[in-house]
Symmetry: D2
Subunit: 254 residues, 4 copies
């Protein structure tokens, strides 16, 4: 039986590419995303055409019980989850303090922090019992410093980071490896950056900074590092790592 | 008319002592705490006997609208709030991941992060309009690193810190000064530490480490620095500061 | 006998103003600077005209034995040093890696790190014996992150910061209080910023951003916080603090 | 012609194992260490018996010109250096402030900071001209926080870290990738840990915590991550990463 890699937040960027990479390496990849059933089916199909094994489910992570039920079903129907790629974004755009409703502020937390807690609360005990498991958490610059108009996002992503540290503090010695992966730059992803910018501005940006310039993070290259981290020997585990294009100024300089 | 200092989380420790100090310096101090009406009246009375001006209200910060209504009422009935001492704790004790219910995890966030957002959302625009205001936020080590059995607390206090940074990023240049004050050690406070330990163990600890040993943070001495920060000239503002007893190992060494 | 405050790096900015403030509060201030004997005499005279007590010495901190000899002489001739304001700058301007000679790189370290070590190696044991003493260390953004063309400065100021942490780790519990004070912005100081920019551009900047705009750190207001830190009760000591103008973007956002 | 990997600090731990790994991957590995010519020849021989290509040189990094001359000679005689593994330790043992001589303090800096500057000053311009190069820098916990009796080591390793950040800030966009790799735990290495503890205590520790327990960093597994970092696509580069055994408490918790 293949080991299982569950991807929560499996759009066409980091999530989908990580899923594809794990499938290539012999995992049964389970892809979950909130919407776009066609996109989801497309990723599953691509993986299968590569000779890999994949399943896809729509999942609204903020719905009560949604993550928990999906994890249970995967464990029962497909197999024990060895790797969780937790790639749920929580960027809701720039909103001044006055424009940030209570609901919007809370939503950021539900997406960035609470949903990871819910997934970890299900999976860590299972992984600890098996003495083996990896949780790869996509993080963003907002985890490291606040910004204007990022009240919800910054506080929620900081909560995600400290949650990763608490989880490691409790579970690493029991064989569960949690990695906080700071993606510090724009990702060449049609589903996220592409939607924020719209197709024309996205293409313009790709031509100016991406493509052969490599100034946007290529999600398949990000996936290389995700995969490497999942395979680290337990005598040399990474808890925190950053990733950015060579041409990008790190968050501490910009 | 006296300037107003609102204290949210005004027990017998840092909150009450900061309130008392601001009253001594000429502020009308408005004290809010969740429970213990007798304790609240006692603090108000002590301030009045010192010749200061104080009001006291019970306030359950997690109730919808509670902070907002109190701020409105103070602004209308007492005067413009010049200083907010935001001293709400969110320590709910050590709980393993498996013992942390969804409700408990969320409560930590409601206390540590969301309540500060709600207070800031009310006050920052008012302060910015007046071109003047200070928000002093009590923080804890959990903001800086995760710990086992601190999943809720660490992620929520980290959220508080990044929220402070975002608020400053949006409001500092408009005259609103937010300070994240990391209290990195045990506070000699009967309402918090005293309750956690019980009266006997608390007294024992005071005799061993506190009192003339000064190895517990004395809340009236913490209040000295709170007051200093509120009076900093706008050409030299502090955003982040730590406080600990001379004999205490800092969080980064322990 | 008055307590003694020794200022190393006592130009017309933070150092001179801190010295003046300590003198006003009853300290005998000993001012040391590398050059400009007239400026030094002027500061001493101003303090004396205020009714304070001051002495002034030229001191080339990088000369072997210079700091050590000065500290010995002050301890013998004037009195036990209670406060050291260590305000030596190490900014040698922007230099690309290729333009940074071995000598220039080393000089940054000698100024920023080694000279603090030498001062601390003399003073900490004396202060520990007396159970009392404060070392206030002026720090800069370079301690927190690297920058292009700041190879010497950034590595040397980071060395200064970690040295402060090690000194506290060894001496705080013995009564010696070391504070790393991050000055994160331009200081309205003719001797440093004024010399870098030249008189015209300096005056232009002051008119645009400083003066009534308060967008440059006023050294006499910085001195307020230096003095406060020196008076903190040992139950509530600060190890690290930042200072910047209200209108300035913090280092983590710029 | 094979690409060249130069290892500075090539003992039997991380340095030697990284060298071996790069040789297995097709690099001509050039190993440099201060002493133990037999050990050096042994590592070269082991690599050659694996079918790899290696050269070895004794190098006292603190000697003026030593690093510079070695780099020049390698570039001329062997080929362009594509990867530098900079693995020079600077741990000189625990020394109280009073026991730390000026010379000892300076030596820490010469080993940890200055020698990296000297290597980078030679190599970065060459690598930038070729548009390609990687510098992998072994770092230690001392870079992140001070400790008692670590005055030299902590300040010197912090200097190393900020130097890495400055180098990246100036050279990353020109194709030179510098990575600060925080090794946060004890390494199962006879040349370093083994020498500090002596053979008996080292073996005892290995039996208790290392070997099948994996509680000491295995240098060949550390080398896996070193190699991965050297191969990252330039659209997704890591600047900072940590490594520790699964069972080890991270520096921020200990």
């Amino acid at each position: 039986m293949k080991p299982v890699c569950l991807v929560i937040g499996a759009g066409a960027g980091i999530g989908g590419n990580a899923g594809r990479r794990f499938a290539q390496e012999g995992y049964h990849t389970v892809l979950c995303r909130r919407s776009n059933e066609d996109g989801l089916r497309g990723t599953v199909k691509t993986i299968e055409e590569d000779g890999g094994k994949a399943s896809g489910f729509l999942l609204n992570a903020v719905d009560a019980g949604s993550i928990e039920d999906r994890i249970s079903a995967v464990e029962t129907d497909i197999g024990p989850i060895e790797v969780l790629v937790f790639n749920l974004g929580a960027q809701t755009g720039n909103l001044s303090l006055e424009a940030t409703t209570l609901k919007a502020f809370e939503l950021g937390w539900r997406l960035a922090t609470f949903s990871l807690f819910r997934a970890a609360a299900m999976l860590c005990p299972l992984m600890a019992e098996r003495g083996k498991g990896t949780i790869l958490v996509t993080a963003s610059t907002a985890a490291m410093r606040g910004n204007p108009e990022q009240h919800s996002h910054a506080s929620a992503m900081a909560g995600r980071r400290m949650l990763c540290q608490s989880l490691n503090a409790e579970y690493a010695a029991r064989g569960v490896h949690i990695v906080h992966i700071l993606v510090d730059g724009l990702v060449d992803a049609p589903d996220t950056l592409g939607k924020i910018l719209g197709p024309e501005r996205f293409q313009e940006l790709r031509e100016r900074q991406g493509l052969e310039h490599d100034g946007l993070l290529l999600p398949e290259r990000v996936a290389d590092t995700f995969f490497h981290l999942s395979q680290q020997h337990r005598s040399a585990w990474t808890h925190e790592i950053d990733l950015r294009p060579y041409s990008e100024t790190p968050w501490w300089n910009s």
